[in-house]
Amino acid sequence: MSKPKIGIVGFTGCAGCQLSILDLEDELLDLLSLVDIIDFRMAMSGNKKGPYDILFVEGSIVNTKQEEELKELRTKAKVLVAIGSCACFGGVQAIRNYRNDRVIREAQYGKDADKFPVIKVKPINKVVDVDHYILECPVNKYEFLDFVKYFLIGGKPKLPNLPVCHQCKAKENRCIFLEDNIICMGPIIQAGCDALCPSYGLPCDGCRGSTLEAAYQQQVDLMVKKGASVSDVTRFLLKYNGEDPQVKEFLFKAWMEHDKNLKYGEDDKE
């Protein structure tokens, strides 16, 4: 069997996921003995635009040109994988979907705002079919590697579907939410990061998206009970996951109910 051809491409995002893959220093040479990387602009020259056996896509889609480009790439890829929060849930830039995008563009480009037409920020599954998701911001390099390994032996890794509290308790971390009154999204966010932030005394930011059947309302009620405002908590949820369908539904409702002064989702026309 010839080695599968792999592409790693990026749309709007910080390119941190691509960097994370390059950061697989101990495994990179072994990886290259298993696959042919034919398209990886961040790392090499002489890139070929397909056909790919697996195409990893980083970043979210913010304008029509990118939409066309992604659709074109999809036709050349047997398997398409979304990597990182932007490609999976819209990422940080999806906050724009909850604001007036004209105001945002004018803040950046002034009078030239019209020269930069945008659409609502989309995770890539709103444009093309996605076969698998690899989470985290930036993408978890070991989960990336696991996906490649599983693909080669003919399978797919499973999302852990556990909340961050699972790994936090297993590591016997101090619970910063209970002990120090810090807003932490651990109870409703997908684990897999080995509770990285809470292990260093920082709250979980929610970069891996919400876990299956996450208890948003309970989470918000609790944080409010501890002294946070509803907009504080929802802002936390929005940070990476603006376009996570589960979170989105909840966020809109929460914001509409609790904070009528903030005109979120004003430009809600697709």
């Binding site: 308790k169 059947e213 609790l222």
Partner: protein
């Protein structure tokens, strides 16, 4: 009589002496939370502290454990027990274990030793000596060990320290391993006098009066069985975050999930197990995709029914030991006593 007397100021000396001969595990302030860890000096030990966050179960049933290595092409498997340091001669001494944790571990012993013999658990368990410390009064407001009959275990420990009077402890061996420790350090112990024994008996009498029962477990299994569709389950389901913290800090929760990790050569791999929680969505899903507890309410109820009905009926021990950890570490402030009473109280 093999019991000995030891003064309070000699206890750190005992710990330090044991460090030379054993691997000593005690409660320390690692990560700014009471944690059981291997220690290298008695200075690290928190002597008069409440319970460690995770009970001694983690020493015998770790959060993550390698089971065996496999080769996909040759089909050869090799147990990780053979190549780890588990087989080394040095025994582990766990110092300062509270009665509720000893009782909790007796539940795990029952399950992993008697009901189903788990080599991984037993290899670690047989290597450990447990030095308990008697609680003479409830250690904090969430403790309800008396209700669960767990503050006076008859087995599951090797030595038990009981403070009989100001700064003096009676140390009672319960196994040959315990007697061996007493013999190893004769200079640290004194022979107790008749008066000391009287004090010891009196202390144990006083202990009985210091605890009160928060909930009555007599008849609880059948009562809960009759309240299967109680509205109280719904009420608490709405408060619960399903983060699973209570199951990890629980000394008698033992559920685990098994996963394979493939190496980069695609031929070899390792099978691991890690703690799992019945509060998680896919916990009860089986091959073919059916999930026996697909609703949150069922998952919430299940844990209580398992603790208060299944374990007592199947193993004839209480499934809950009343240590109160699940109350302390619940982000949603759910109190197991309230849940049981609410369900019970409903007509």
């Amino acid at each position: 009589m093999v019991s000995k007397l030891i003064s309070r100021k000699k206890i750190p000396e005992l710990v330090d002496a044991m460090i030379g001969d054993f691997i000593v595990v005690a409660t320390t302030n690692k990560n700014n939370v009471p944690t059981l860890t291997e220690i290298s000096s008695s200075d690290e030990v928190l002597f008069d502290t409440e319970l460690p966050m995770i009970s001694i179960k983690k020493l015998f049933h770790p959060a993550k454990q390698d089971l065996f290595k496999f080769n996909r092409t040759t089909g050869v498997i090799k147990s990780c027990l053979e190549e780890s340091d588990i087989g080394v001669e040095k025994k582990i001494v766990v110092f300062g274990v509270r009665p509720c944790d000893i009782t909790g571990n007796n539940v795990l012993d029952e399950i992993f030793k008697e009901y189903f013999r788990d080599e991984f658990y037993n290899t670690l368990r047989e290597r450990a000596l447990i030095i308990g410390i008697n609680c003479l009064q409830p250690c904090y407001e969430n403790c309800f060990c008396e209700s669960m009959n767990s503050n006076d275990p008859k087995s599951g420990y090797d030595l038990m320290l009981t403070e009989i009077a100001k700064d003096n402890f009676i140390i009672v061996p319960n196994t040959d391993g315990g007697k061996r420790i007493l013999r190893l350090y004769p200079d640290l112990f004194q022979e107790p006098t008749d008066e000391d024994f009287e004090k010891y008996v009196r202390t144990l009498e006083l202990k009985k009066n210091s605890f009160k029962k928060d909930i009555l477990v007599e008849g609880l299994p059948s009562e809960l069985e009759d309240k299967f569709e109680s509205r109280a389950w719904k009420k608490y389901t709405k408060e619960c975050l399903f983060c699973g913290s209570c199951t990890f800090v629980c000394p008698t929760c033992y559920c685990f999930n098994v996963k394979d990790k493939i190496s980069i050569d695609l031929k070899t791999g390792i099978r691991q197990r890690e703690w799992d929680s019945c509060y998680y969505p896919e916990f009860a899903s089986v091959a073919g995709g059916h999930d026996f507890r697909h609703e949150k309410e069922r998952r919430f109820r299940y844990r209580y029914l398992h603790k208060f009905i299944d374990i007592p009926r199947r193993y004839n021990v209480e499934g809950c030991v009343g240590c109160g950890r699940c109350i302390t570490y619940c982000p949603a402030d759910i109190d197991v006593r309230d849940v049981v009473e609410d369900v019970r109280g409903e007509m």
